[in-house]
């Protein structure tokens, strides 16, 4: 007999019926749902023993002490030892994995090229090192190296000659310095915050301004004028005109600084006028002291003196080695360019990414990113006593990286075996100060620890703080007149400090508008109208740093005639143009 279609149907029906009495269908449904729990492509966090390591954050000169939570050897979270960190510091352990991070570079070729260039250096031509963060042990090595090279020059941005003592201040006038937003270590700033009145003079309502007790909205570039008039070196009416404040306000401000002392006046770089004004207010030795520095081995004293870029004659540098692995204040490139020789100068940059001077250099050599670096930190602007803090690596640096210090020392034929250790020994030998270990928070006098222990402790998470030096004689009060610069129609002002950032910073400028993203500018509705742009409009921004596409945001807290931009390396405030696309 033959099987008909009906027979097949019956069989199938039976099978279907039977299947429902087995675990199979139900299990399959469950499993698909479970599969959606470990969706393919989702990474699995590594498990392991949780350890704690200590280091100092080397992203900015503040150099906060950092406690790292590690799984095995890998840091998975960073926190401050003496309070919180800035967002850049909190996410610093991501930097080695930044997509823009530089991993390979033509090291040999660069070395050869440098040697060759030095060899055919003319009598007047210089070999120079540009160090963005002077005051480190590395800086000393550079200076020693340059001392050993003919016409060797060590160039560094001007350092604040003084440091401030926020703890003593009762009134603080900040001329545009982001005091509460990265100017100094946040832990210090906020520990002292409740004890002083903060007056912020600034053209935009920055974070510091919005937290200040008083915000004086002044015109761009009129900070110096205000400082001078407060010191009586500039007529009040004149100052009022330049700053856009009422004369009354300036007079009151001056009185407040005198009466509600100890007063402290700061600006971004603690310029000469500001220091003089502080001296004038009788703050010397109370809220403001000379910049302390940890002892250095006597042998290093022969090092080349730091030179400011301006002091270097134009067209004189043949070989320029730029260390931007430790970022600090970026000197504008067009200034640097003036100093290079006309006929093919050689520029080598040591950096973690091509973002900065890399764009202009013949060779960009990969340097270690934050948790890989071995370095120390200069005295912070708010450090009253000398200190010695190491940024010790939390993870090993990948192969193919260059240590700029070794490179430069090699170029100069200077044997620099572990300068950090030498420095540490010198400090230990001085026998002054105390050693603070972070793990237990105990502090011991240096005299009581052996040199090796001292060194070991510094590497395991500790810092040395010396005794605060006597302020000595106050510098004479000589003011340099504020240049009467013509205020352009639209001035670009930097919103943030330019620090390398983790991909996770997208939380604050892409997934929210808390911080100004690199592709955004903010301006007052009125100036936006003048430029013919509205909120969210796409436009091009032209500054001295070049042209780039941006999205415009409206913010009525910004002085009309100012465009707020996220600072990039090499950006400097100045004339700007915003054109709608």
């Amino acid at each position: 007999m033959t099987t008909t279609r009906r027979d097949l149907l019956r069989f199938a029906g039976g099978a279907a019926f039977g299947a429902f009495l087995t675990p199979a269908p139900w299990r399959l449904i469950t499993d698909t749902a479970l599969w959606s729990e470990n969706w393919p492509g989702i990474p699995r966090p590594a498990r392991g023993e949780i350890r704690t390591k200590f280091t100092h954050c080397s992203l900015c000169p503040a150099g906060c002490a950092v406690r790292a939570r590690c799984v095995g050897q890998q840091p998975v979270a960073l926190a401050g030892v003496f309070g919180g960190l800035c967002p850049f510091g909190v996410t610093a352990h991501h930097l080695p994995y930044h997509p823009a991070r530089l991993r390979q570079g033509p090291v040999k070729e660069a070395a050869a090229a440098v040697a060759a260039a030095i060899a055919k250096c003319g009598p007047r031509e210089r070999v120079a090192v540009l160090d963005l963060r002077p005051g480190r042990t590395a800086s000393w090595t550079y200076r020693r190296a340059m001392a050993g090279v003919r016409n060797g020059t060590y160039i560094a941005p001007a350092q604040p000659p003084v440091s401030v003592n926020l703890a003593n201040a009762r009134t603080v006038l900040s001329l545009g310095a982001p005091l509460l937003d990265g100017w100094c270590s946040p832990a210090n700033a906020f520990a002292a915050r409740d004890r002083f009145r903060l007056i912020q003079a600034e053209p935009v309502e920055s974070r510091t301004a919005s937290l200040a007790d008083t915000w004086l909205p002044i015109r761009t570039g009129s900070e110096q004028a205000l400082a001078l008039s407060l010191a009586g070196a500039l007529d009040t009416r004149d100052a009022a005109e330049r700053t856009g404040l009422a004369e009354r306000q300036i007079v009151d401000l001056a009185r407040e600084l005198k009466e509600n002392g100890p007063a402290l006046v700061i600006d971004c770089r603690m310029s000469q006028n500001v220091v003089a004004l502080n001296v004038d207010l009788g703050s010397w030795g109370r809220t403001i002291v000379p910049r302390p520095e940890a002892p250095v081995p006597a042998a290093w004293k022969t090092a080349a003196p730091p030179a400011e870029l301006a002091a270097v004659p134009d067209g004189s540098i043949r070989v320029l080695l730029i260390d931007e692995s430790a970022p600090g204040e970026y000197l504008p490139w067009n200034e640097i360019q003036k100093k290079l020789v006309s006929g093919n100068p050689l520029v080598v940059a040591f950096a973690c990414s091509r973002e900065g001077y890399g764009q202009h250099a013949q060779f960009v050599l990969p340097a270690a990113a934050f948790p890989e670096v071995t370095d120390d930190l200069p005295a912070a602007v708010d450090a009253v006593a000398p200190g010695f803090r190491l940024a010790t690596p939390l993870i090993p640096a990948p192969d193919g990286l260059v240590n700029p210090v070794d490179f430069v020392a090699g170029v100069a034929g200077l044997a620099a075996p572990d300068a950090l250790r030498q420095r540490a020994d010198a400090i230990h030998a001085s026998g002054k100060g105390k050693l603070v270990t972070y793990a237990d928070g105990k502090s011991a006098a240096v005299k009581e620890v052996k040199a090796d222990e001292f060194w070991k402790a510094l590497n395991a998470g500790a810092c040395w703080t010396g005794d605060a030096a006597q302020p000595g004689r106050a510098p004479g009060r000589d003011f340099s007149p504020a240049a009467e610069a013509a205020v352009p129609a639209l001035t670009a002002v930097a919103a943030e400090l330019a620090i390398a950032d983790s991909p996770l910073m997208s939380k604050v400028y892409q997934e929210s508008n808390l911080r100004l993203g690199p592709d955004r500018v903010a301006m007052h509705p009125r100036s936006a109208r003048e430029c013919g742009v509205e909120d969210g409009a796409k436009a091009t921004l032209e500054t001295s740093a070049g042209q780039r596409r941006v999205e415009v945001m409206i913010d009525s807290g910004i002085c009309p005639g100012v465009v707020l931009v996220a600072a990039r390396p090499g950006f400097e405030p100045g004339q700007a143009k915003v054109v709608r696309i």
Binding site: I29, T32, A33, W35, S36
Partner: protein
């Protein structure tokens, strides 16, 4: 070629013509399925919904089509429970419309969730306090009911009748129909309500939040009422369209007028209830949760005009027309009033879903705007195309309008009579 499928005694267009008619709809369906596929494979980032506009076009679609599909249960209720036998003329088409609307809604819901593979969690770990649980349960149950109600229509097909067991089965089903109608009515009453509750319970959204009886906010009952009101209107609308497109008389005008009258009556009730509810909300509910009601309407473009349109233009006016026998008698008035009513319910669902999410709740929020992406629109269109196709096929091969045949006879007889008379003259 498909002649033997077509019901005896009714005329249907040629196969070629039919194919030409359905082809574009199939194209639309294909496009829609493609965009829905994108959303399933690549995820909901294909849509323009976001964290603040968590619901968009789709939820609006769901609420609207289900309200329009209410005709199915309500006509069933009137016919089988309240014994309004005239309505037998439209019950089949009502069932098809219901089926289309509900299956469409379920399909869109499935695309609209982030993890469709977990759909069964709702049945396995239900949270009885959630309106969405009620909705899911009722819709799925009622969809099954509709399918069973649809079966007889299918089995009556001329070809399928040839299988004897089918006939028996169909006969058995018919005994069940009253039970089904009862169950269906209960289920849909319930989930029409829970769809209303969906937004009414949102304490965090004072614009939508309503007080009510027991666990159900007032919107629960308003939704039932509005759905029951527009259901018949939508049947009037679709039947009229079917007549126009097929160029045939399908039901007696009295039936449509009856539907219109019922619709108008309920609509009037709804408008009254809605007005009372709105007043209570403006003067008590909203202020109590700290939100002065005026501010909702100061965010342009959603001014008070939207409230006016919802209650008067698309509520009171069609209700008046449908309640006036004279106007009702003219198909033009009847149909346009029905259309107005349907738009009204659409607007109401729009306000519930979209405006609620657009309005700020925190004092530093912005008023939000949202435009659906083409993938969302595509999925939306897929449902429409699906509906048209199912209806077209059912219309062609099944007997959606039992009276159609008789009406046709009458037409024929009249023609013959005329001819005879003419013959008599000469």
């Amino acid at each position: 070629m498909d002649k033997e499928f077509i019901t005896r005694g009714v005329k249907r267009c040629s196969t070629r013509q039919f194919v030409l008619w359905i082809l574009p709809w199939f194209a639309l369906l294909a496009f829609g399925l493609f965009s829905a596929g994108l959303c399933l494979v690549k995820g909901l980032n294909q849509t323009n919904m976001d964290n603040r506009f968590a619901f968009g076009l789709w939820i609006f679609l769901d609420l609207t089509v289900i309200a329009l599909g209410a005709g199915a249960f309500f006509t069933g209720f009137l016919l089988y429970i309240l014994k309004l036998h005239e309505l037998r003329a439209v019950i089949n088409s009502a069932v098809v419309i219901g089926l289309v609307c509900y299956s469409g809604a379920v399909a869109v819901l499935a695309v609209g969730v982030g993890q469709p593979l977990r759909f069964w969690f709702t049945f396995w770990y239900p949270n009885v306090h959630s309106m969405l649980t009620e909705v899911t349960f009722c819709i799925t149950c009622y969809l099954t009911v509709l399918m069973i109600e649809y079966l007889p229509v299918v089995l009556k097909n001329r070809k399928l009748r040839q299988v004897p067991s089918f006939l028996v089965f169909e006969f058995e089903l018919h005994k069940l129909i009253y039970v089904l109608a009862g169950v269906g009515t209960f289920l849909s009453f319930f989930h029409q309500g829970s769809l209303g509750g969906l937004y009414g319970v949102l304490r965090g959204r004072p614009f939508a939040f309503r007080e009510g009886l027991a666990i159900w906010p007032s919107t629960f009952f308003l939704f039932i009422l509005s759905a029951a009101a527009v259901g018949p209107s939508f049947i009037v609308l679709t039947t009229w369209l079917a007549e126009k497109i097929s160029r045939k008389k399908l039901v007696r005008p009295q039936v449509l007028q009856l539907l219109g009258r019922i619709s108008g009556l309920l609509l009037a009730f709804y408008v009254l209830a809605k007005t009372v509810d709105t007043l209570v909300w403006i003067n008590r509910t909203s202020p109590d949760s700290g939100f002065p009601a005026v501010q909702y309407y100061s965010w342009k473009p959603f001014g008070t005009w939207i409230l006016f349109a919802e209650i008067v233009v698309f509520g009171l006016i069609p209700a008046m027309i449908l309640l006036a026998p004279r106007l009702r008698a003219r198909s033009g008035w009847l149909v346009s009033a029905a259309a107005l009513a349907c738009c009204g319910v659409g607007l109401n669902r729009f306000v519930q879903t979209v405006q609620t999410l657009a309005l700020p709740t925190l004092s530093f929020d912005k008023f939000l705007s949202y435009y659906p992406s083409w993938q969302e629109v595509g999925t939306f269109l897929a449902v429409v195309a699906f509906g048209v196709l199912v209806y077209s096929f059912s219309f062609r091969y099944f007997q959606l309008f039992p009276e159609e045949r008789e009406l046709q006879m009458e037409v024929v007889q009249e023609q013959e009579k005329e001819q005879l008379e003419m013959a008599g003259r000469f």
